[in-house]
Symmetry: C2
Subunit: 470 residues, 2 copies
């Protein structure tokens, strides 16, 4: 197709339709903006968007929300101006906040029917074969739109590297792609890899990481065949680095590491500490380069990664998962959705999926942040249910979920000291001066108007988000 507009028209997009996007270009993505600008220019209204995630770069959506072009959002993660617009109640209908696996489930089951999936393609051939490893906007694997492309009524690939038929390698095949549009740029390559993907250098964080690695080592899981996932935060990466030392020391060869893949994990893989990688998304250019080059660095679709209703997701095979938290409560529920004042600061992504799947779901967090306790009586929003969290590692102690007395015993027998989550809570209160009996964080903003529905991975509603006050 000669232009994005021509492709939209060819797809027969109408008012009320659902269009999907993916976030492998992260804060460098320009495809969502470009497509939505054309949709708005065409006079379409009441569009539901289903991006796998939303970043600050997607700020232009706010105007479309205000004007009624966009009236619905379904996504696994949102941060930045769009998240704020949703939290303020500007979107006409409550946003649906899914998990990465829940989104794949919803698409495959028909819960989330997509009229047109727009795929930002670093490379596309003239007949619709796509890959993410070549071209100036190379982002590595295309794990999220693999699912969209299989199930959307129409699929439009937008590329800034159109090659002659056939592309090689192929991550999304011509079977599933209706139209290909060549544009000058699908995004800003410098921003494609964004956010913190470096090991922390803060003493608190390093202390937490060292303890987390000790917990994993003591759990009984760290043996040949060990499998591991961690996020891209500084503490998570520091945990991986500590674990690397233990694995080298003990001569352990893991089976796989999974997830969004970072250079830290690639280094462990290339050092022979994992036989393979399962990669749904590259978090940095080292990961892109390794995915391009290393045959055992394998892609996985969002469904293969985390869908709870397929015949077996990779998260089900995870031994240890290192998770972050904005808040964690006395029932071990974790909030990574709402921040101070009821602002939406993210959402599950793969948090709930990996917590549910991993044998050891380990949350790392400082006990307090900016003079607020991070261990609370009741989280402002349940992103991940406490029954799927096994252990919390803070800079001031380790608490094991009472559902896992076996784990507590193992840690104690390996010389780790274990406290209760209540003890951590009390310590956090003492450190921040929060008095016992103070009103807990007001649930979900407390205005009574629902602005978002948090879905658990199986599609059940796990919490509601109310509009920010004021």
């Amino acid at each position: 197709m000669p232009s994005i507009r021509a492709a939209i028209e060819a797809c027969g997009l109408t008012d009320g339709a659902t269009v999907s996007f993916h976030h492998h270009l992260r804060n460098g993505d320009d495809v969502l903006r470009a497509v939505m600008a054309e949709i708005a220019a065409l006079g379409l209204r009441d569009i539901r968007i289903a991006p796998s995630s939303l970043f600050p770069v997607h700020a232009p959506l706010v105007d479309h929300i205000r004007s009624g072009v966009v009236t619905g959002i379904s996504t696994a993660y949102m941060a930045g101006p769009v998240a704020e617009a949703v939290a303020r109640g500007w979107l006409a209908t409550p946003a649906v906040m899914q998990t990465h696996g829940g989104r794949a489930r919803a698409i495959e089951s028909g819960d989330l029917p997509i009229d047109v999936a727009f795929v930002a393609a670093p490379t596309a051939d003239t007949y619709g074969n796509l890959n993410g490893v070549e071209g100036k906007s190379a982002c590595g694997t295309l794990g999220y739109p693999m699912v969209d492309a299989k199930h959307a009524r129409r699929v439009v690939a937008i590329t800034d590297n159109l090659v002659s038929y056939p592309a090689c390698p192929i991550d999304i095949t011509q079977e599933d792609v209706d139209y290909v549009v060549a544009v000058d740029s699908i995004g800003d390559p410098r921003q494609i890899v964004s956010g913190s993907t470096r090991v922390t250098d803060k003493p608190d964080g390093l202390k937490i990481a060292a303890t987390a690695a000790r917990v994993i080592a003591a759990s009984g899981l760290l043996k040949d065949g060990f499998s591991f996932q961690t996020g891209a935060g500084g503490v998570s990466l520091a945990t991986a680095a500590c674990l690397r030392d233990v694995m080298v020391e003990r001569g352990i060869v893991g089976s796989f590491a999974a997830g969004g893949i970072t250079g830290t994990i690639v280094e462990m893989f290339q050092a022979g500490l994992f036989r393979t990688l399962f990669n749904v998304q590259c978090f940095d250019l080292e990961a892109v380069e390794s995915y391009r080059r290393d045959a055992a660095h394998q892609s996985m679709s969002a469904s293969m990664y985390a869908n709870p209703h397929n015949k077996g997701a990779v998260v089900n095979q995870l031994d240890a998962m290192v998770l972050g938290a904005a808040e964690i409560d006395l029932d071990f529920n974790v909030n990574v959705t709402l921040g101070a004042g009821g602002l939406i600061i993210g959402g599950s992504g793969g948090h709930s999926d990996t917590a549910a799947g991993a044998k050891l779901a380990l949350v790392t967090t400082k006990l307090t942040a900016k003079s607020h306790p991070k261990i609370v009586d009741r989280v402002a929003c349940i992103t991940t249910p406490g029954e799927t969290i096994d252990v919390v590692v803070t800079d001031e102690g380790v608490a094991v979920n009472p559902r896992r007395p076996d784990l507590r015993d193992r840690l104690l027998s390996e010389g780790l000291s274990v406290v209760t989550i209540g003890e951590l809570r009390e310590k956090a209160m003492r450190l921040t001066g929060e008095a016992v009996g103070t009103a807990p964080t007001e649930r979900c903003g407390g205005t009574g108007r629902i602005v978002a529905v948090a879905e658990y991975r199986d599609g059940t509603v796990i919490d509601l988000v109310e509009a920010m006050p004021g």
Copy 2:
């Protein structure tokens, strides 16, 4: 699962169910026999089988047909004792003979719902990731069951090389596999590659091949970016070999070769004559080895290969396709389904799919065989409609379909002599002594009892097969 029987029971297979198989192990496959023996032993009845193809090795099916365990067959190709049983009318319901692309279409659309797909897996890990490139029964790509696995209600992988999680590479993922069964052997590796996959050394065949290559060279398609497919028959391979010489001489680099891949095609690829290969099935061990090793030797599913109803099959991108024929008639209709006396000798496989997709669909055939004309008034069964055939190359002349006057002109201008299909017919009659006005081959056996329905790739009925006389 500890055994095939346990897996069948776990799938909840009932009377009247449909089970599917694939034919990458060709005449060495032992999985269909083993599974059907268990199904029979369990007392199940009225089973419909949907193998991608049936070979002589599947003879034990005949007993199941006679006993009523198997009452329906849907397949793209059948040869050997089962084909004879069908032709004799022993199967309770007419067999459905599809094309490879039509089978994929039927599975994806729901026309052919599969209850349990049994996948013969040369390698499987403990959680259901499969590949065909490792293990003692390595057969290369798994293009056919990729479709079955995506759509069957239950999927059982049967392997003789169970590896620890995760397998690498992965051709069929854990997302789609319910059960894994380890057995001693999935087949006879020596028979996995079977049939004629050597260049012919017969003078007639070499003459046809040389002419076919000249026709392709004269067609205007043989330039950089050229794409090509041929079967594994001796004349087809000889045509490829002749074409190779022309490509080398002219310095032409093709875009891709596709199909069932043979060592002959691999050699052309490795010599740089094609940038990539699309492989739905390996026909010999050279192809298996290359698929394992060469990144640009890519797999394709049966749907990506040939499904007429997806968003773009590889056959649509083919320049030249070299096809065989048991008979071809005055309307250029081709029969590769019925042989002498009404015996079923094969079926379309990818014949109709590639003929429909390729810009130049070229049939090679001797003018006569065993004193029978191969150019006939009316084929005994239409496998591939004449409107999709462009040119017929025989040892006694070349005939161009009247629908392609442009092609006729091109051949003439390049110095090739062209006759009409009628002239070839007359010559064939003269050579065999068949008198003009003799009754044509009796259509479909002529007994009046329908034993098979030949479906065109889009699912429409293209011909009926009647029971063999006697």
